[in-house]
Each structure stands twice: as C-alpha cells, then as structure tokens.
Symmetry: C2
Subunit: 334 residues, 2 copies
C-alpha cells in the first residue's frame, strides 16, 4: 500500500475512534514512521490495540492536556491519558522550546501511554540542533537481577545528537536482549525468536514467541542491564508521577484502566561549552569509522545510520501490509 494511502486510512480510523484531526495526524505519522524505519513491532501491528483502548476509554480520545511551567527550563505535563503519541509530541516540542530559550530543557509527563519509538521524538530535537535524552518505562517484561518474576519494562535508553551531517546519531536501545514488539510480531506470525533472549513461564529457555510472552525476557548484561532498567523506571515513573515498579499495564492485555505511563525528556544545546561542536563530532565519527574492521563488516555504523537508511529505502517503496493487518484495517473501518 502506498504510504500516502495508508496514512489517509490510519487517520480515518483514528478519527473514527474519537481522536481529533490533529491528534489523528500525529498518531498516524508515528505509526507510518515506525513502518518506514522497519520497527514493525511499533507500527501498524499496534493499530487495533490503540483503537480497542480508545473505544474502551482507557485511552482518552479527548484529553485535556495540562502543561505546567516550573521554570523557563523545566515543564511538567499531565497528559490526561491521551494517546502516547500526542503527549510525547507535546513533550518533545516543549523540551525543544525550553532548551532553545535557556540552553537546557527538562520535561516530565505523567498520565501518558505507549508512544512508540523514543528515537522518533529524539530525531525531532536533533533536527533542531539539540542533544537529547529520553526515558520511558513499559509493562513488565524483564526480571530484576536476582528476581524470578518480570517487573521492569524493556525500558529504552535513548540518546540523540546532531552529527554535522544529515544522518542523526540516535541510540534507542531497550535494556532487554530482544524488543518486546519483535516477540509480539513473531507470535502473531507463528515465527521463532532467537535463542537465549527469553524464558518461558517455568524459567526454561524458549524460542517460542508465545511462550516467551508469558515468561520472562532477559536483560542485557545481567545486573548491569537490570540496574539500567531500574534507573529508567525511576526517571520515567517515580520522578514524573507515572506508574512504576511493574504497575504499567500491558496495553494489549489489560483494559481495566489507563497505562499512566510517565516519560522524561532532557534536551540541551550542542554549543553550550564548545562552539565547534559539529566539527568535533564529525571528527569523532570519522576517527571511529576509520578503525580496522571485523570480518564481514563493510562499515562501522553509528547508532541511527541503519534506521536512516531503511527509512530512505522504504520511503521509495509501498508499505507491505500483512494479511492479518489488512483484516484489522477492514474491521476497524467498518
């Protein structure tokens, strides 16, 4: 399906499920972006879930979002359980505005929901020539180190910076060995997941995606990854007033209430300390790219390069809509 056509369709569906025109646009754009960068677990495979939550009012289709100014640098947003895309859009725009004004921006959001890819919002700040860090938590998927039960989400750590070129440096890495969205997609298409990334509910290693969803995902790097996940839970949940300590509801499975997710956006100007930041980072990247390469490696890539390439390539093509999602679309349009 052509990008343009799919976007119109998505917007129509979101509006049918109660979103205002501009909120439907923001949400459609985020889903399309996920498809184009190849993050299919965050793309149209989630559309039905969002619509289900909207129709059950556990996502508020008509939120009254309040932005509280704490200082010229710091803002606090109560998203009133809007769809996550909209609150994150306001959050990053506020963080950009604050940093442009004072050099530094810190924005916390509470009462939000799953917003897709952190990197998508990081890109917006990078395009405005800012360094950005974003934290959000997620439903239980990963066991804390020493525990036998999932509690942390895949809790991504996201960092972005301009590079002096058109391809931004966007690190957007979950602290689990595998993205939960990828397991969901695998489960949906009855595909296997890699070895060693998840356990079933009995604590045994599994490559069965459905069993993995009922079990535990493993954190990167043992106690180190567990500590990083805990940090993200504190920054995005404890600090902001969002849910934390395993209380974020699974958006696919738990419709008993809103997710109340918190997000934290931190932005600052690149040239606060060194006026020639772009030149410096160009030199940094150039030096690293010149290193001798491992077998089979054509080029040393910085985080975000692959995604940028996929985006460019996929933008020229039609978006493949799997049968199962075509069904969703039909059903949602009825």
């Amino acid at each position: 399906m052509k990008v343009k056509k799919l976007k119109i369709l998505l917007k129509k569906i979101f509006k049918k499920y109660g979103l205002k025109d501009n909120h439907a646009t923001i949400s459609s754009n985020a889903l399309i972006n996920a498809e184009l960068v190849g993050a299919y677990g965050h793309g149209i495979s989630r559309l039905k879930m969002y619509c289900d939550r909207l129709s059950k009012k556990v996502i508020n289709p008509e939120p009254k979002i309040k932005i509280k100014k704490i200082s010229n640098s710091i803002s606090y947003i109560d998203a009133n359980n809007s769809i996550g895309f909209v609150s994150a859009d306001i959050g990053i725009k506020t963080a950009i505005k604050n940093a442009k004004k004072t050099g530094i921006g810190l924005v916390a959001i509470k009462n939000s929901g799953h917003y897709g890819l952190s990197g998508y919002y990081a890109e917006q700040a990078v395009k405005k020539n800012l360094v950005v860090m974003i934290y959000t938590n997620a439903p239980p998927a990963v066991a804390p180190h020493g525990a036998l039960k999932s509690l942390f989400g895949t809790n991504p750590i996201c960092f972005g910076t301009p590079t002096g070129s058109k391809i931004p440096f966007i690190l957007d890495t979950s602290i689990s060995l595998i993205n939960r969205g990828k397991i969901r997609v695998a489960a949906r298409y009855n595909k296997k997941i890699p070895k060693g990334v998840a356990l079933d509910k009995f604590g045994n290693p599994t490559t069965n995606a459905k069993k993995a969803l009922k079990g535990v995902q493993l954190p990167i790097a043992g106690y180190r990854g567990s500590g990083l996940a805990w940090m993200v839970d504190i920054l995005s949940g404890v600090l902001t007033g969002g849910n934390h300590a395993g209380k974020v509801k699974d958006p696919f499975e738990d419709f008993t209430g809103p997710q109340n997710i918190g997000h934290l956006f931190f932005t600052f100007k690149t040239n606060l300390f060194q006026k020639n930041y772009n030149q410096r980072i160009k030199e940094n990247i150039r030096t690293i790219k010149k290193l001798p390469k491992s077998k089979g490696v054509k080029e040393i890539l910085y985080p975000g390069q692959n995604k940028f390439k996929r985006f460019k390539e996929n933008s020229k093509k039609e978006i493949k809509v799997p049968k199962i999602i075509k069904k969703d679309l039909k059903l949602l349009l009825k």
Copy 2:
C-alpha cells in the same frame, strides 16, 4: 594500616608531590573511599601513578581552575589539568549549587584527568537530595561494534538518587564485559578468561588471556553497549572540549602529556514534579524487593547497596596495604 594513619600518609605524599593542602586532602579522601568500598583498582594502587604524573607535570600540581557561569543552571570548568579528584570535586559541588538554585544543574569540565569512581561524586549530590547523572570517558579498552581495535574507554554510566533511606541508589556501571585488570591477572597465572568477553587480534573469540590482551575487550550487549560507550564519549569528550575518539592517554603508560579528560555532571531536584518523591521511591524499592527470588538469592539489592555495606564494614577495620604498595609508599616518601 588504620584509615586515619593512611590518610595522613597519603596527604603527606600528595603534598610532597606539589599539591596544595586542600587538594591533597581531596585526593587522599577519594583514594581512601575507593579502598573502603572495595574498589581497589581505584584506590592506593594508583597512588604511584598519580605521583609520577605530578612529578612529570602531566598532572598540573598548581592548576588555575576557571569556572565559567553560562547560566544559573549551567557552568563550564577548565580544570587546567588538575588532578581529576579536584576538578571532579569542584564539578559536583558546582552542579549541586546550580540545581539547588534553579532545580537543575549541568556542569561540563575539560582538561581534567582520571577522577576515580563516578559513584563517589554521585553520592555527594544524593546526600544533598538531588538526582544525578555523571559521564566520563577513559583510555581505549573496548572496540566499537564492528571494529577490530579498542577505542572506547570502559566509559562508566553513573546514576544516583536518594532512596528515602540512608543507603543511596548509585548505579555506576562500566560498559565493558570484563575489567582489563582481570585479564592481566589471568594472563600472569595462565588462566582462562570467560567465553565471549574478548577477541584475539584476528577478531576471533578467545578465552586465552594473553591473546585477549593483544586483541580487544567486548562491550556489554554487543552493539547496544557499543552505542552506550559512544554516547559517553560524546557527552564527556566531544561536548565538553575534552579528549575523545580514543585520544585519552593511558595514565599508567603514556606520560607524553596530560589526559585532557572531560566530565559531565547533571543534577536536579527530586521533587520538581512530585512532592512525595521519597515516599514514591521507597515504595518502588519495597515492591521490587518483595519479588520472588532466584535460587540462592537472599535479597534483591539495588545498585549501591553492596558498596554501602562494604564501606560500613571496611570502615571498622584497618586497610590492608599489600607489600607492593607499602614499597610504593616508602619510595614516594623518600
């Protein structure tokens, strides 16, 4: 040796090598703290190195440290190649002052050196009831993902927060899978190193410590850890005006000039968004500690708990000074 006696000795030595009284105190305290928390690689085993660098003037014993105020929140410090302990001490104190004033503090330092443990400075901010993040880079030890040569340092990521109890939450984690010192020890005793932590010079995985020393150490979590190390290199080096992209000199081996390390300190108040932060984080920790435990795990610990316990226990005892370091002390006092 009693802590008090060792401290007097260290101070005497640092002063003999040209440090002012208060700089000698700060440096001695940092080394003693490393001993007490059991981070022996950052303790008195480094004393001789610091003195050697001082006597060769690649650490400036009489630095003229300049603090530039960018805004009430943001400061920029040129440490004039002071010993790292002193610049980091000024850095964290400035970041604390800024956050107390405006809610948020961002402090960059350039022309500094190795400062020991990030967690030591994080603790100072946490004691003032602030959340803190600290970044510093280090000499080459870890290969970027896809590269066959070390370039990133072990580049720690450090995060601290008050917990509502006397034991702070201090995550201070390097991004390498194994400490280089451990590989050196294994090589000396012809012992194997664990699988998957290092490559030989041809890029093949090895458990042979000698081959690993000639090859590269691997980052945690493959491309994810490599990305995190790169992030730290950018935040602490590119941004601040410090050395980056593998240019930080090994303090033990390279006396051709100062290290020019950069550090970044980011601090903010815990109650910017939620007034009952301490209550919230207490609840967070309590919930996680209550999870069912893995076999053999007595208690689920948060980052910093172990170190705190070691500090308390070791503070009651004398500090063990190995023979080889007693020799150093004698030599340095001559």
